[in-house]
Amino acid sequence: MRGAIGLFSSSMLAINELTYAFQGTAPIFENINLRVAPGEFVSVIGPSGSGKSTLFKLITGLLAPDKGEIGINGEISGERLGKVGYMPQKDLLLPWRTVLDNVMLPLEVEGKKGNLAEIHEWFSRFGLKGYENAFPDELSGGMRQRAAFLRTIMTGKELLLLDEPFGALDAMTKRNMHTWLLGLWEDLQKTVLFITHDLEEAILLSDRIYLLGDAHVREWKVNLPRPRNSDQIYQPEFIELRKELERLIHHEN
């Protein structure tokens, strides 16, 4: 295991021999290993119940592993809460706060004052300009999702965990969000770990994909050059990749 240490320290996220079980049930993870390099976009896919969200709770520090280690930015031990930017499945915008106040929440929690000019700049980039003082119930689904994403960015963390951020959106909105996210991510310089059950989405956005199932993970590289755009899903290479991934999933089951 000694040889792994070099890799460990250069990873943004390193999971080593992780085992986790909910009390009194069979383990959902058994000795799984997972790496995410700085600046990488990595997706996690798997059937429901395969523990995708649980994996995120372990990484954020909401849950503690039974066995194994989780390292963030080279730090293996210690408190993980407050070390990553976590975007949950639901937007979880506080309904009584304006969009601006929601987005500022991570700064408030850390007792920091944000730079308002900078934050307004972010609002334009996220297509939320003019909605700073609106309340979440006045926004569309796509806008709420973007606001929640902006809140995640505001944590200022290098590693972002996005749990099915587009799961609840309709197909059209989702495609727009893909285009927008691809453009944004190119110059955001963040590391993203992304949960989805949408294969197309996973291929389009990711550098690598981890397949979760039967308490184990398998890694799959996406051989698709960047920059990408959302029209690529109709190209034969893309469809070929998708078939390959589907075969892999079926083979696994």
Binding site: L81, K83, L92, L94, W96, R97, V109, T155
Partner: protein, 257 residues
């Protein structure tokens, strides 16, 4: 202005009409001799009794009861919030206190009131004690339940941001609990009037409860009703006051519910 008036009539118009109709029928039945006036006095004679006793009622008894209600409710408010929050933060406190809280509500008030008289005599504090015993409970329960209810996902989100318990309490749990707490306050303030009145029945030398009881002994039904009218008016005004605060506080909190 016109729109406001329209809204008011659509909200309360029907109620006012029914009240006017009810009072008119009441007056008519008593005037026609359907019911003896010492059983049910007519609204007009209640009004006359109110005017006749106005110096005593507004000068002595109303203020006395009002202070009992205010002090009793004030202590209930502070104590209720403290215990509600305390029980939320400390499991042990909850385990010790909750049974006592329930017991305090099942013990017959009439049975323990002699103890209050024994301890506090005929002073204002025996009435405050009865008020507190009644008004305290809804505040504790609504605070405790309000803080406990839901918000788990929000709490987890804030914890991933590095928020501690106090921060989560302040940013998520208090705003989420406020509607419940304010419902508790509305109940409690109305109960406070009841508590003060019962306290006065059990032993007092002034107050609207004391007055109504004495008048009932004298078979002066109109004066009894006048005191009851003032008591319910006090309850309504206090209730509306809390609702005003509620409306201000919950302007945005009520969103998305």
């Amino acid at each position: 202005m016109k729109i406001k008036w329209k809204k008011w009539t659509s909200d309360y118009g029907l109620f006012v009409l029914v009240v006017i109709g009810f009072v008119a029928i009441w007056e008519w039945i008593v005037q026609a001799g359907g019911v003896p006036s010492f059983i049910l006095p007519s609204p007009s004679s209640i009004w006359e009794a109110l005017l006749k006793n106005k110096d005593l009622l507004f000068g002595v008894h109303l203020p006395a009861t009002f202070w009992e209600v205010l002090i009793g409710f004030g202590i209930s408010l502070i104590g209720g919030l403290l215990f509600g929050v305390g029980m939320h933060f400390f499991r042990t406190l909850e385990k010790i206190l909750y049974p006592f809280l329930v017991i305090s509500q099942t013990v017959p008030l009439i049975a323990i009131s002699p103890i209050f008289i024994l301890w506090f005599g005929y002073t204002i504090w025996s009435k405050v004690a009865v008020t507190f015993l009644i008004a305290f409970f809804p505040i504790v329960v609504s605070t405790y339940d309000g803080l406990k209810a839901g918000g788990d996902e929000y709490r987890e989100l804030l914890r991933t941001m590095g928020a501690g318990r106090w921060m989560v309490f302040k940013k998520v749990q208090v705003p989420m609990a406020l509607p419940s707490i304010l419902s508790g306050l509305k109940m409690s303030v109305v109960y406070s009037v009841t508590g003060a009145t019962i306290g006065e029945w059990l032993g007092a030398s002034e107050g609207l409860g004391y007055f109504s009881r004495r008048m009932s002994g004298n078979l002066q039904a109109d004066s009894v009703f006048a005191a009851i009218f003032l008591l319910s008016l006090m309850g309504i005004i206090l209730f509306l006051f809390i609702r005003l605060i509620e409306k201000r506080l919950l302007k945005n909190l009520a969103r998305g519910r």
